[in-house]
Symmetry: D2
Subunit: 262 residues, 4 copies
């Protein structure tokens, strides 16, 4: 039993270190600084190689579209409240990120999985869509409880359309997503158009990202809004901000009628 | 007492929402998507307005330089271990970010504060440096326990030099940082050159970011490495990864000689 | 639209507040302080009423048994590393708790679900056990990668046996768990006896706690070890503790042979 | 360089492990289960030895008094909101705990430090109190923005009084705290009586806990409320609960008048 065991336990393909040297995915860090844009560095780190400019631009649009959706999102409110509790800005950001779970930050991942399944069906698109959609009460990536049409949908899909036209991506996941949208239009009482999660899922899927990374990349994008809001709140100097003003006291509901044995 | 109270409790200058509309810092989100690069969106969100290209490029270089420093950094190791515990990728990222505290992610913030103080002294530079350095055992942003010279220092300072030459930034914080470096060279047993935190602090300070944002922006940059490592670990399927291989059992130190009254 | 909406949004059956008054589950807090033991307060808060002493004693044993399993558990190592990064003790504890996910802190919850299903089958016990066990590669709550027999199993089951003999609990979940153990003994190459998660799951299930609370109560118990370890580490003054000593550098694995399309 | 290095890197005085064996602070875990109450186990883990019953009872009262103060506390609201985001109960608890920072969970620690300093002055009590109080705008552990008199103050101090009378603790920190209270009564426009943080700080200080542990123990106590609230919220099935009802939209404040250079 030697120290090699510990060295291997932390083995990685991402970074190589030596005194005076840092290589990221095989590229010396000094060759990246000032030469590579941040979004390409993101791609390099999670995928292992640098992207071409057109593919990087699609990722960039998805990240920009994701930065914020206001303090009514639990992640943003949580970051703001935490920032008033006497912790570091990083701790406030961490708690915001921690809330981006299956229901709040996971729709993109679920949508990539759904689109991948539809594309893999590789036969009758309509049949595949019908089968897949039938499994969901809420179809991930479609519909919005606040926006009749999500304002981020249009510009994102326009970018993918252009990329398909130019052969940058092949468009199969975009077609699948549009087929889902059409199916929902035809079968639900009111339209449930693609939302930010659906439109970015199309991009992530077209670019070949694993479904889990749809969540990871959304977290990166939303971290910008989390930072901005935590900092705005911290700058205002309020201490121990609760969810509602102090003059409003939460309702006491009383004991549940029968305390079940749970 | 009306609902307006609750609306005001969550008031913000960052985002305006209405059904079908999202404005970030006064700009409709659809005008940003595909038009604005991610780093400029970061700037917009935390500063309130879009940057010019040259200033954005400096911020971009600082973010790229910060993405990773390997799994021996606690933040990265924590994210990797958490990723094996049956939680979401966002939870693993959150715990990594949570570790970027005063000692691990705060040196940039402290260095911006130090440089700001030196610049503000606005008289004898050498005297200001001597006074400020004397207060620190570890001068934040200088020296590295692993690298004799941090490989990220050179390319970052070269970019700032060029920006100063072109009048993009005024260079006062760069000069202060170089003066600190020279002072340390002359007064310590061995050189303690500027490290990543120092070189990026120069950039953040030259660009006019508040000290706390040096930490916040570092968190954004390092979140990329945290994501890449958490994902690499998660992809390998190990369950409940501890810090050292299972064959190595932590030493039991026995009872402390005297249990003090703490 | 009135402020009542906000008051209702945060409605709760747990606590009633008024200036000078705090009631927990309908009991003024001053009647609890000095009168009720901590474990009964835990029960009151999550169940809504105070337990009798014998049932509280079973919960107490489960909590005591859960406090620590050493720094090779990721949660403990994470808390220790975070404690060296310049954050508060609460932040270090938070990151430890955050790692107690499905694989690290969730086995108890899964085991309660499994035992509940077996008990509900309410017919041929052996058939129910066989059917349920067949669904799992790792049967939650059974077997330990480190202990041939978990030293916490025996004393916990002895307490449940006594409680069954005295009519404190009815023993159906205990019998189900023993039937699983016997089934595994007969069908696996080597014994996979009940572990801490299984033995405490028996207690939680016998006491009528919802499965999710098995995880929640385990988190409470393990928080004690997380606190003790974070504090021991913080007291030693190390800065930025990585997972392995600085002299051991993580292996660089090189580029994966084929970069997949992920 | 051997594996011993890794073993030593994780050395601890808290736990000794071997296959089939777990010792906590030198006591086999099976001797603790069913024999030692949970609060004594807490004491053992953080202090290294078991307490006598009278001292344990004081700690128990402090923990019981700390369990909850309602959903207007950011920690509780955060845990509830996180619980609706599709993460585990442990993740919701972690984010609640993460908010118990210097301003929200740190007053007890600061109060122990203050009382310790006053006691150490060891001469004219009034002079020491005056000197120490003068340094604080908000005296930690005194006054409450909601309760004119904190209902937890009375019963906690009554227990300490009895313990002093019986020689269980010596009462020096209690006297210091009462002297602070008297000083504030005499010098502020309205009374700022001891609050929960002050009264528990008296207990922790009388029992000889390090100041940081006042925060750590408060976190343990409040984790009970965090669990109960996260679970109540999770049981109700709401998805992505924001801080205010969806019908109330956060106010948009518009651009700050002058965007400073920060």
């Amino acid at each position: 039993m030697t120290a090699a065991e510990s060295a291997d336990w932390w083995a990685t393909s991402i970074v190589r270190m030596a005194p005076g040297e840092v290589e990221l995915r095989g590229i010396p860090v000094q060759e990246l600084i000032g030469s590579v844009d941040f979004v390409s560095a993101v791609w390099l780190m999670v995928r292992g190689e640098l992207p071409d400019a057109r593919r990087a631009a699609l990722l960039e649009a998805a990240l920009v579209a994701s930065v914020d959706h206001g303090p009514q999102a639990p992640s943003i409110a949580i970051a703001r409240m935490t920032a008033t509790c006497g912790v570091g800005l990083n701790n406030a950001m961490a708690s915001g990120v921690n809330a981006l779970g299956d229901s709040h930050g996971g729709a993109g991942q679920q949508c990539v999985e759904m689109l991948t399944e539809i594309v893999a069906a590789d036969g009758d698109l309509a049949a595949a869509v019908e089968r897949v959609v039938a499994r969901h009460r809420y179809v991930p990536g479609f519909g919005h409880r606040f926006h009749p049409v999500d304002p981020r949908r249009g510009p994102l899909l326009a970018l993918v359309d252009r990329a398909v036209a130019d052969g940058v991506v092949d468009g199969r996941h975009l077609r699948a997503a549009r087929a889902v949208e059409a199916h929902l239009d035809a079968n639900r009482r009111r339209p449930v158009p693609m939302n930010i999660d659906g439109a970015t899922a199309v991009i992530y899927a077209e670019l070949g990202f694993a479904p889990e990374l749809a969540r990871g990349l959304f977290v990166l994008g939303r971290s910008v809004g989390i930072l901005a809001h935590a900092w705005e709140e911290m700058s205002q100097g309020l201490r121990n901000k609760g969810p509602i003003p102090r003059s409003i006291l939460p309702t006491y509901r009383g004991k549940p009628e029968a305390t079940s044995d749970q």
